[in-house]
Amino acid sequence: MGINVIIGYILMFIGAFFFLVSAIGLVRLPDLYTRMQAATKATTLGAISSILGIGLMKEEILVKSIVLAVFILLTAPISGSALIRASYKAKSPLTNKTVVDRLKEKEGETK
């Protein structure tokens, strides 16, 4: 068992931990916008860490796993941003603990 396998397993379990954190956040957070926080950031880190960790253990899949990690790193923020913008336009409800809504203030100024 080489050093790359040990580092790979450590990275894999860091990824699994972040997947679990993201899932708990999805269940427990109050509204769509806070849930999107858990769904986008924690899942991206979990996926990248898992994929790079698994790729380190085997040489044939290392290049493809790096390509896949870079692809997820580029596309996950774009899809999250598009989805949350669309659901704000569709008036998905905010939680009643909301303190400030900058987008609403900004649109009120321009009108």
Partner: protein, 85 residues
């Protein structure tokens, strides 16, 4: 399949069950789309694990294609929620 891989698989299964709870319960369409996107990202990591465990490197191609299709799918769903197709 070694014991460590099984433990990793069990952790991912717990996470998937919690995400499916949000997918079933989610009050409106954006919540469901978000939960489905999260599950897709988890399954990409699962495909990469399959490539290691079963010693078949074509699972990596499956994972890449799945990532591209899920990205396009989420963009289409977002556009649909915003103003209809």
């Amino acid at each position: 399949m070694k014991t460590v891989d099984l433990v990793y698989l069990a952790l991912l299964t717990i996470a998937t069950i919690l995400m499916v709870y949000r997918l079933v319960k989610g009050p409106d369409a954006p919540n469901r789309a978000m939960a489905l996107d999260t599950i897709t990202t988890l399954f990409i990591a699962l495909f990469v694990l399959f490539a290691l465990v079963f010693d078949r490197s074509f699972y990596m191609d499956v994972a890449v294609v799945y990532a591209i299709i899920s990205f396009v799918g989420v963009l289409v769903v977002a556009r649909f929620i915003e103003r209809g197709l």
